[in-house]
Symmetry: C2
Subunit: 173 residues, 2 copies
């Protein structure tokens, strides 16, 4: 899929086809995360691939904002350690994974774990050392034929983009 | 450009052709940032487009880690306000912009402003209110024919990706 088309059609997806995600597709998504730039090239990320349906159901039950993880055929948990700018590096890797997945017919939705107890449960379940931070568990699956992602509204360009100086709206052409 | 090719060829770029960036290309890059997902869809970003060469030189002089901004024909300063997860949202928008730019023949390099004095100078120069955070100034320009981006090494997949449980290396296929 063309980059422009991909970025302009991408939606956040919470419902998935039950079809399993082929291993070469999972590899491409991981490669996209691995290839992301990071502060001082530290690559502070760890990705744990989860395909066990019982485990996905359990994580869905733990994730207050992500019960739909239970319905995904695969998920990638993202952990960070030794990051100078943990969330910034994570955001860049996550976005590369989401874009790659979308171009291959899949979708995802960021699920955060703000409750420290929930984070601890996921780390214990996956055997992740305590000095890692859980950023998200991203569920992945093929999109339904009738995609029902939330096409969330965007602020107008003139409200967020400025030309030369703050307050001088960028007039999109 | 195809998404897979884009993500697998992208490099961090610090040298640019002097050619100016057409306004429709700048618009596509801004659209990519504007279309990024954000926590609770808050879209907490502001983008300031800079094309004035004196201003680019001045920012290059302020940016300890980014003197090459002076040699770029265009830059986009990214500011955030009211973000729950400021760096995470920023990282996702920045990565969408970098990918769109790469697919159109351009390149960029993340430049941070960790020195509060430098951040203040950039904010004053661009008339940005004090309650915004400066995340980066991203220089953009067409890549040289002999691209001399830094093709920085990546950790092996088995060192960062795990199958099912932390410590069980994902074996890429």
């Amino acid at each position: 899929m063309d980059v422009y088309e991909c970025l302009n059609t991408r939606l956040t997806i919470r419902e998935f086809k039950p079809d399993r995600v082929p291993i070469d597709v999972t590899t491409k998504i991981l490669q996209a995360g691995r290839g992301a730039p990071s502060s001082r090239n530290r690559q502070p990320w760890h990705f744990v691939v989860i395909t066990d349906s019982d485990m996905l159901k359990e994580i869905g039950a733990i994730a207050e904002s992500g019960p739909f993880i239970a319905g995904a055929p695969m998920a990638i948990a993202v952990f960070m350690r030794d990051a100078e700018r943990l969330d910034l590096d994570a955001g860049r890797a996550i976005q590369q994974m989401e874009i790659m997945a979308w171009s291959l017919g899949l979708g995802t939705c960021f699920v955060g774990f703000s409750d420290p107890k929930a984070e601890l449960q996921v780390k214990q379940m996956l055997g992740v050392p305590m000095d890692f931070d859980l950023i998200t568990v991203l569920p992945f699956g093929y999109r339904l034929d009738s995609v029902r992602g939330r096409n969330r509204k965007r602020k107008p360009m003139s409200a967020i983009a400025h030309m030369g100086r703050f307050g001088y709206p960028y007039l999109a052409r």
